[in-house]
């Protein structure tokens, strides 16, 4: 009896994996279909946004990040933000976008949300290659701290995906969410120290801003890449409980998203 259960389990994940792979490939093909530069856009876009911000904030407004290698600093912030905004945005519309499929075939629904996030994850990894080029050109001294990048990327992925599962599920019934989320993202864009140095913000506010998981990850990533002078959650707060707030938020969100998604997924076909 136990063997058949194990067989069923492996069979179930086999199907999910096959489906996940094919959905990611299809998304990938469709996204850049008919465009001349195709996949290059996923690298060009952050570079272009970087150029704009570089000119506006570093040259015109002369923002001082208080660290050497401000270009690396800025670009790292942009790719992290891009990943977050792409993953949550894709996930939000992923289930409704696959409504046609959901109404006609029974398959593990989480595959849809997962597939929508994987293209963004590939983009993120490719952009890290560009970041490495930046660091090389800017003669950044690489320390052992750079290994912290790995847990930070995992944290970022878990946070984005957990939010994505909640957003995608809610969007099935609450179509106003697309507009709401756009506004929230606009707010977050300014609440995150992507294009401005955290030093510019009065400390009583920056202490709050850095509790936002995205801000925490962004600053920690910059710290790992460029240097110890970066203002981070750790440098602003010495209370260990407060330092745990962002990661606790993410873990709670992850548990809630799984529960919520599991509860609602059965009804997607009839509610879309």
């Amino acid at each position: 009896m136990q063997l058949t259960f194990a067989q069923k389990l492996s069979e179930r994940y086999r199907y999910s994996l096959i489906l996940l792979k094919e959905l990611v490939i299809t998304d990938f093909k469709l996204r850049y279909q008919g465009s001349i530069l195709g996949y290059l856009w996923s690298l060009l876009k952050p570079l272009m946004i970087f150029s704009i911000m570089y000119v506006v904030f570093l040259k015109f407004l002369r923002f001082d990040f208080g660290v050497p290698h401000a270009t690396v600093y800025l670009f790292a912030g942009i790719i992290l933000w891009n990943f977050f905004s792409e993953t949550t945005g894709n996930a939000l519309s992923s289930i409704v976008g696959k409504g046609d499929l959901l109404r006609k075939i029974n398959f593990p629904k989480y595959v849809v949300v997962l597939a929508s996030s994987l293209n963004a994850l590939i983009n993120l990894l490719l952009n890290f290659v560009v970041l490495a080029v930046f660091m090389f050109l800017d003669n950044v001294d690489i320390s052992r701290n750079i290994l912290w990048i790995i847990p930070i990327v995992i944290e970022l992925y878990v946070f984005s995906l957990a939010l994505g599962f909640i957003l995608g599920t809610m969007f099935v019934r609450l179509r106003d969410l697309a507009q709401i989320w756009e506004v929230v993202m606009q707010g977050m864009f300014y609440a995150v120290p992507m294009f401005y140095p955290l030093q510019l913000v009065p400390e009583k506010f920056s202490k709050i801003l850095v509790l936002n998981p995205i801000a925490q990850m962004m600053q920690d990533m910059r710290w790992a890449l460029v240097g110890p002078k970066t203002i981070t959650l750790g440098s602003l707060w010495s209370n260990p409980y407060i330092r745990l707030i962002p990661i606790t938020v993410i873990l709670i969100l992850a548990v809630v998203s799984v529960q919520y998604f599991r509860k609602r997924a059965k009804f997607f076909a009839e509610e879309i």
Partner: protein, 397 residues
């Protein structure tokens, strides 16, 4: 102890309700008023798509589900597939079920034929390697060798269906759910479908088959079920089910005729006052009474028979059957006609139209849906008439 065949599907007192939220916001004002009016926000309608349906499908059985449009049969199929969850009751499946109920699920018009094969294959549970191994067979069965690198949007609908069907026949499952596949495709494609069905039957697969095609039900199904008005009406022998299904439509059609939805126009110089239609032995008899309101020199009288869809099956008048016109009718007189025609009509409800015209093309009385008659032979066939036919054969050596 009697040997019992195991059930592939057990449906236990299943009900399904859909909650249909009402459109709330019409204009800006109503958005605001509704925002504070909780009953308006919560206004919704519960649609009972299925009520307390129970049945079993044995392993290796070919089981038909029939019913009119909107009766709930597709909802039933979606619940068997696990796409919908029952509101009440349970659905138990024993065996590997193909997860789709329609051909070509996931087909994307922007992808090429080849890419769609891999995508649809993945939905059927085939890995890239497994599709690689049978790719040529899939393509040649669909007869699309030359088109696989074209985008699907450039395929004709027939080509798409062929590709979808070719993929569907690959599905490895013990239980198949088939919804209306036979409604699409040309004769050659339908023949392929039927061959596939025969193969499924030979391999003792369990098949649940939703269709409107009673011939297919009689031919392939071991048992069938009739769903109407969200409830199971009958379950059992496919022949009985097919007959019951045909009756549903007859009742509906005769209701229509009884309500006298007919149109009528004309000068009224001669006016039809009474019409009776009935079947006597092998004849359809139509008795018509008319009264003359105004003197008419010459009267030509006709009768038309219309089928279910208001298509004219036959039309004739006295001249066509070489009966002289009626001459010199004076006001106050009355006439009676008795039409008799051989009942060569097939199952169904038929409507009669009567015409009275004069020889200078004045319409005196044009009476559509004047009466109706019903033929019940219980041999529902696609053709409207069943003329007496004989055939002689000679074999020469």
């Amino acid at each position: 102890m009697a040997k019992t065949v195991e059930n592939a599907i057990t449906v236990n007192h299943v009900s399904k309700n859909f909650i249909l939220p009402h459109e709330r916001a019409g204009n800006v004002k109503s958005i605001f008023t509704n925002l504070f009016n909780s009953t308006a926000l919560k206004s919704k309608e519960v649609q009972h798509a299925l009520k307390d349906v129970s049945f079993e499908v044995k392993k290796g059985e070919f089981f038909g589900i029939v019913g009119r449009n909107g009766s709930g049969k597709s909802t039933m199929l979606k619940m068997l597939a696990g796409i919908y969850q029952p509101t009440k009751g349970s659905v138990d499946i024993d065996g590997k079920l193909v997860p789709f109920i329609e051909l070509g699920v996931g087909f994307n018009p922007e992808l090429t034929g080849r890419e769609n094969v891999y995508l649809n294959g993945a939905l059927l549970g085939f890995s890239t390697k497994e599709i690689d191994a049978q790719y040529d067979e899939i393509v040649s069965f669909a007869e699309l060798e030359r088109f696989m690198d074209q985008k699907l949007k450039n395929y004709s609908s027939g080509m798409q269906v062929r590709l979808a069907f070719s993929l569907a026949t690959r599905a490895k499952a013990d239980i198949l759910l088939v919804d209306e596949v036979l409604a699409v495709g040309d004769a050659a494609f339908q023949r392929k479908c039927f061959e596939y069905f025969k193969e499924l039957k030979a391999n003792e697969k369990t098949v649940v088959f939703v269709t409107h095609d009673m011939n297919a039900v009689r031919e392939y199904c071991d048992r069938a079920m009739l769903i109407d008005n969200s409830e199971m009406q009958m379950i059992g022998d496919p022949k009985d089910i097919a007959r019951e299904y045909a009756l549903l439509f007859m009742d509906k059609a005769s209701d229509h005729a009884k309500k006298g939805n007919g149109k009528r126009w004309g000068t009224g110089d001669v006016e039809i006052t009474d019409v009776k239609a009935k079947i006597e032995k092998d004849e359809v008899v139509v008795k018509v009474k008319a009264k003359v309101n105004k003197t008419v020199d010459r009267l030509i009288y006709g009768i038309h028979v219309m089928g279910q869809d208001a298509a004219e099956i036959t039309a004739m008048n006295n001249r066509m059957i070489k009966v002289p016109d009626i001459e010199h009718l004076a006001a106050g007189e009355s006439i009676e006609f008795e039409w008799r025609m051989l009942n060569i009509f097939n199952d169904g409800n038929y409507s009669i139209m009567l015409t009275l015209v004069d020889d200078v093309a004045n319409t005196l009385d044009w009476y559509t849906h004047a009466a109706s008659f019903e033929v019940k032979r219980f041999e529902r066939s696609t053709t409207p008439v069943l003329p007496p036919v004989t055939v002689e054969t000679k074999i020469r050596k």
